[in-house]
């Protein structure tokens, strides 16, 4: 299928081109947009690209890290300062997909993909967007809720706070095929401990709703408590609350609801 390819040197020009053409899509690593082209997606008539170096910048030091939207998972795995993001980055695709797929593209990846975004959601990330209106930062949760309406905007970067300690951040992707396979469910938890109690609990789930979501009931069960067996049990019991998983080839919605609490318990207790 033939489409028009527009390549720009700056992200603002690319954003302008995106916002003025509703059949335009931004090409990052290609794992979503080229796939749509190969499948003959007729809603796509223009491909927009930008060679802006700012899009591939990583700022890995300091308490708040920033990843350009065009940063690949392979590059994250090469950054020692980003060790807390290595497990989610490694859980994506095989080596070729990790050399191609980007942080920005992952925000748009539908189920059963988008695992890296689950980790970012648990870390309270902020998404920097550029649209016809200029640029702005929005919380990742708000971005995901309005993802379908973000077609005309360009993601510039994602930033998040580094976990307070390596033990405070947990991530796991449940897949049938190892080491590579689509997500049955994906879980990420950030549980900062202050004075022996959890302060600011975040539990994020993938493949449990049309987009990645926070498990608010489980977060409430954890907040202000110490991370003991009874607290974990309460969080596990509440894990499926507010979720709306779908059936797909990897699993039924029923099975996802059944296992989400089991895997949350294992994740929080550090069990295999």
């Amino acid at each position: 299928m033939t489409v028009t390819v527009k390549t720009f040197t700056s992200s603002s020009e690319a954003a302008a081109a995106l916002s003025s053409d509703r059949n335009a899509r931004y090409l990052g690593g290609g794992t979503l947009v080229m796939r749509a082209l190969n499948e003959g997606d007729i809603s796509l008539s223009t491909v927009v690209r930008a060679n802006d170096q700012a899009l591939t910048r990583i700022d890995p030091s300091g308490p708040r890290i920033t990843l350009g939207a065009g940063v690949t998972f392979a590059r994250i795995l090469g950054e020692r300062d980003l060790a807390f993001l290595h497990a989610p980055a490694r859980s994506i695709g095989g080596p070729a997909v990790r050399n191609m797929g980007t942080v920005g593209g992952n925000l748009f990846a539908p189920n059963p993909y988008g695992d890296f975004t689950v980790a970012l959601l648990a870390l309270d990330a902020t998404v920097a967007l550029q649209g016809g209106f200029g640029s702005r930062d929005i919380p990742i949760e708000e971005f995901l809720q309005s993802r379908e309406r973000q077609a005309g905007t360009l993601v510039l970067s994602v930033s998040c706070t580094r976990p307070t300690s390596a033990e405070a951040f947990h991530y796991r992707k449940i897949a049938r095929i190892k080491p590579k396979g689509g997500s049955v469910i994906t879980l990420a938890a950030h549980l900062p401990i202050s004075g022996g109690r959890i302060a600011g609990a975040r539990i994020a789930l993938g493949s449990m709703a049309p987009t990645q979501i926070r498990a608010r009931a489980a977060e409430r069960a954890l907040e202000g408590r110490s991370l003991d067996a009874a607290t974990v049990e309460a969080a596990a019991a509440a894990a499926a609350e507010g979720t709306s998983p779908s059936d797909n080839a990897l699993s039924s919605a029923w099975y996802r609801r059944e296992i989400v609490g089991v895997h949350l318990r294992r994740l929080l207790l550090g069990q295999e």
Binding site: T7, M34, R35, E39, V47, A96, N99, M100, P179
Partner: protein, 158 residues
Amino acid sequence: MAKTALQFRHNSSDVAIFVDGGTNLLVALRELIGDMTPKFGCGQGGCGTCSVLIDGELHLSCLTLAETVAGRSVETLDSLKQGPNLHPLQRAFAENFAAQCGYCTPGMLMAAKALLDRNPSPSRAEVVEAISGNICRCTGYEPIINAILAASGDRASA
């Protein structure tokens, strides 16, 4: 629609072609350059048989917009040939019965080359990880893993 001129390094030669907007690298290699070694499998990034090296990095050619390789180096399975001799990886695949129907083999060999170029003596777990993006429906993977380990041993002893 206007075509875009595209020049890049293909194995050991410079090539110049004209591509339509949206053409993927796999189509450019097979239909415009005539290099039939990368295969079309799924077109979705799930099977890995179209794998090539771009500037030494493993990429899926079916998900690569052809014009993004302008000025870069693309290596396909065709680059492994050394006159009448098989590349050590190809020889190891033959000796370990790592190819049955052969459709995944071009991608498996490129994924293996990407691994051994970076890590000449990988562990078994590293081999499994390196080919995790490549699907084989015949062998059950064991012969392929053994072949890559054997090739790495040959390199080490050479």
